[in-house]
Symmetry: C3
Subunit: 374 residues, 3 copies
Amino acid sequence: NANALSDFFFEYETPRQVLVRNRRVGVVCRLIQLGVLVYIIGWVFIYEKGYQSTDIAVSSVFTKMKGVGYTNVNGVERVWDVSDYVFPPQGDSSFVVMTNYIITEGQQMGTCPEVLLYLLMNSRLSLFQGEMTGVCVNTTNTCEVLAWCPVEDDRIIPSPPLLMSAENYTLFIKNSVTFPIFGVTRSNLVEGIDADYINKCLYHPEDAPLCPIFRLGDIVKLSGFNFETIAQEGGTIGIVIDWTCNFDVAVKHCKPKYNFHGLYGNPSDTGQTRPSLGYNFRYAKHYLENSVQKRTLLKVFGIRFDIIVQSLARKFDIIPTLTAIGSGVGIFGVATVVCDLVLLYLLPKREFYKNMKFKYTDTPIQVRSRQCAK
Amino acid sequence: NANALSDFFFEYETPRQVLVRNRRVGVVCRLIQLGVLVYIIGWVFIYEKGYQSTDIAVSSVFTKMKGVGYTNVNGVERVWDVSDYVFPPQGDSSFVVMTNYIITEGQQMGTCPEVLLYLLMNSRLSLFQGEMTGVCVNTTNTCEVLAWCPVEDDRIIPSPPLLMSAENYTLFIKNSVTFPIFGVTRSNLVEGIDADYINKCLYHPEDAPLCPIFRLGDIVKLSGFNFETIAQEGGTIGIVIDWTCNFDVAVKHCKPKYNFHGLYGNPSDTGQTRPSLGYNFRYAKHYLENSVQKRTLLKVFGIRFDIIVQSLARKFDIIPTLTAIGSGVGIFGVATVVCDLVLLYLLPKREFYKNMKFKYTDTPIQVRSRQCAK
Amino acid sequence: NANALSDFFFEYETPRQVLVRNRRVGVVCRLIQLGVLVYIIGWVFIYEKGYQSTDIAVSSVFTKMKGVGYTNVNGVERVWDVSDYVFPPQGDSSFVVMTNYIITEGQQMGTCPEVLLYLLMNSRLSLFQGEMTGVCVNTTNTCEVLAWCPVEDDRIIPSPPLLMSAENYTLFIKNSVTFPIFGVTRSNLVEGIDADYINKCLYHPEDAPLCPIFRLGDIVKLSGFNFETIAQEGGTIGIVIDWTCNFDVAVKHCKPKYNFHGLYGNPSDTGQTRPSLGYNFRYAKHYLENSVQKRTLLKVFGIRFDIIVQSLARKFDIIPTLTAIGSGVGIFGVATVVCDLVLLYLLPKREFYKNMKFKYTDTPIQVRSRQCAK
């Protein structure tokens, strides 16, 4: 037994092979093998980086807006600062910048006639303006409702948008990403983006692609929208922060790329996506006047920004490398099978090659005789 | 040297093989090989779609509620519109719809007795109602605190829930997904879901599975909850938008599937998950009355909706295809090894087969003699 | 034809091999083969668990703060409860706990001089305090602006922070994760974490690692920050919930791990990450006083918590298992190729081995004679 083991260790088996000296078959097979080799080395390894494993980041995003808006409606001047025009105020990754609004001041609970929205209405389209009292108001030809009165009249959207100044607001984005498998944490304030630079810079796709401060007008323009159009009825824009990193080179080369696009239908799209254009919501400020609870209702039209972090990191890993090599060897085997098929079934001398390649075991005696015949 | 290269190119090696003509071994080995082939083609390729690579989407979600609630508490009628009952107002992917509340009006900063929460209290369970002043109030047998007074008394939760009308509110969901590796962007307003359809449709699992407008009562029912139960103490419901797409067929077949489930314990679950049932938070509206800062505190019980986007796209990719083929060839090799073990160690004629398969290289002379013996 | 098929089924081919009885080559090759085997079994299978496929979870997170703050500024006592110091109030996965603030009361729309921020200003650094009226105010040497007046003066940040009591607030986290491919849903209220336990427990990294209730001071400490420092100017802390699960064992062993770290620069980092330290935002409460719209502006400094769910589940899967085996066989083939190179090109007896391994097909006649020569 110990002998068998030592035999096993001092032996080594290698397959016996026929070396076919046939120009046509040789060239065809070498080309197939070369193709497989080029595929494995060129495509899988170099182009697709098959020797690397991948990781997707977990991330967190904070934002901060700056800028002051100014409106002059019927001679009443107003300024709008960050706490007036950003919803929510605390700097989330998804937020709305108000660019237009319909204000309904001094609403209080009571009964009043509904505002007629459409002349033709089907039964499904409820106005949702309040609780029907069952009374019909003759002057307006609409139903009376129990609601915050007077009911908001949003049939006319101010044009041009009241807060066109939003174009010059700036947005500061802080983004931290962690690749959990590779154990790497990066922030969009990469090497070289220090306090000094941030105080001066403004994002530009070519001149300052790493500056984390963005002018709203630039974002809208880079998304392909016209600012006045989107400001009037609102819209939704995605700010994609793309972390495509290769950790086989120094970590400092892992830098974010920013790009911008409309989330529901770009301006160039056809009517198909129409239902989703525009963005608005209602927001109320409550107060007490002469012991009566009142509220100011704001229908806010704005640009909703959604900061979307997209990440894909790659790093050398022994497992995918050896899997690629191992399966590459398998594909080499397929190439040999293909060549064998040519050799054994298509060539004129196929019977000869069959005899070369195979040894038969019909019966011990038969075989011996065959062997001798050779 | 050039000769060696041309030799190499015009040559081709193919392994020499023994063709074992043995019914039992033949059948066993062919069946094993067939099994491997069926596994590779049937399971890896057809069933598991091993020829495809996968991609997970980045997504953004916006929501919009519609509907008006109505309460009549002690003869005081009130309506609740979207800006009153949705938190936050701007249409996030995670939001709360108020269904019940405890209101504490006219709170102002001052000292007042705590509300007794439990008769038996251990030291860890702080009431957190305010800053202790150190005074004991005899009438209530509780401590005096500096707090917003009067302190909220939330011992009795209104039943039935005050805003049962929430059942008829509707929720409109806009969801955009981007598969970054495949470069495909889709929205839940797929082909055919146009403005006209949206104005009329209402989600139904079978009749209108693509309508992005949902009745709250339907969502709660589909999650397995009873509306009145969940409305009273609040709860958390996940709305899962499932994008399982195959981009080898036309992109337009990539459509979302909606499903709904309780996030922390379904009603059918046992007491185990009890601690997590119910959902509430406190919210204050501040105002000034006779130059005194006051607030109305609302303990909001509501249904928290969390829209969760789940995605998995697949598309033909040459790398996983060839990896699957390559490793399949490897497994074929394992099949051969298994058959060889049978052939060389289990069969009665094993010595004969060993001689057929192997050629020994003990010494040049030994081998030559052996060869002659054959 | 049926004969050929039955022939095919009752036959079985196995490669013919040379058994090289050479100690050096044998040992080298067996060692290489052993290395490959150890790599495949030890590394790919046991260490990297190559027989498993992976899944990343979709998750939802809810939070609830508890605790009361107390401030005494110039003799005016105030308490701050949850609805005063948490933004937003509804319990999102990303929220801010106010720890310090600058309050500007009684602001109303009007004109007033700007507050001088820096003595030296470059043109890019706009003050953004309001709309310039073009008037210069001599007493302050600054421009007059149309703004909410008086303009906030945030040059001095209160020190020590006004709400140091935030250290004792507690945070309750509810987290539900779903692994879509494996179809498993888990909550951080795992087995054994029932209502009783939650009422008593407090998270501790070693003593109570599964308690979902966290003291703010503990979180800050575990992140490596000093509470007073971070409380004064604000900061951002990530609470990572790590779900690393192996579903080949019972699902109940799939438990969350909590860890905490600063998101933008830890206190130990150098000045590089400076620009991102601190966290604040502005928040306004509107009211009506004598029919004039006024607001109280709060510059909130706080700790922003971002709850980040990180997940990786693994489970036995036949596909990666067989891919690993298959490519392992391929790598075995590589080992043979390496040994063959040694055998055929490096050994002194290489010509002999070449003759053993290869059979040439120069011409039928040539071959026959060669064969005889052997």
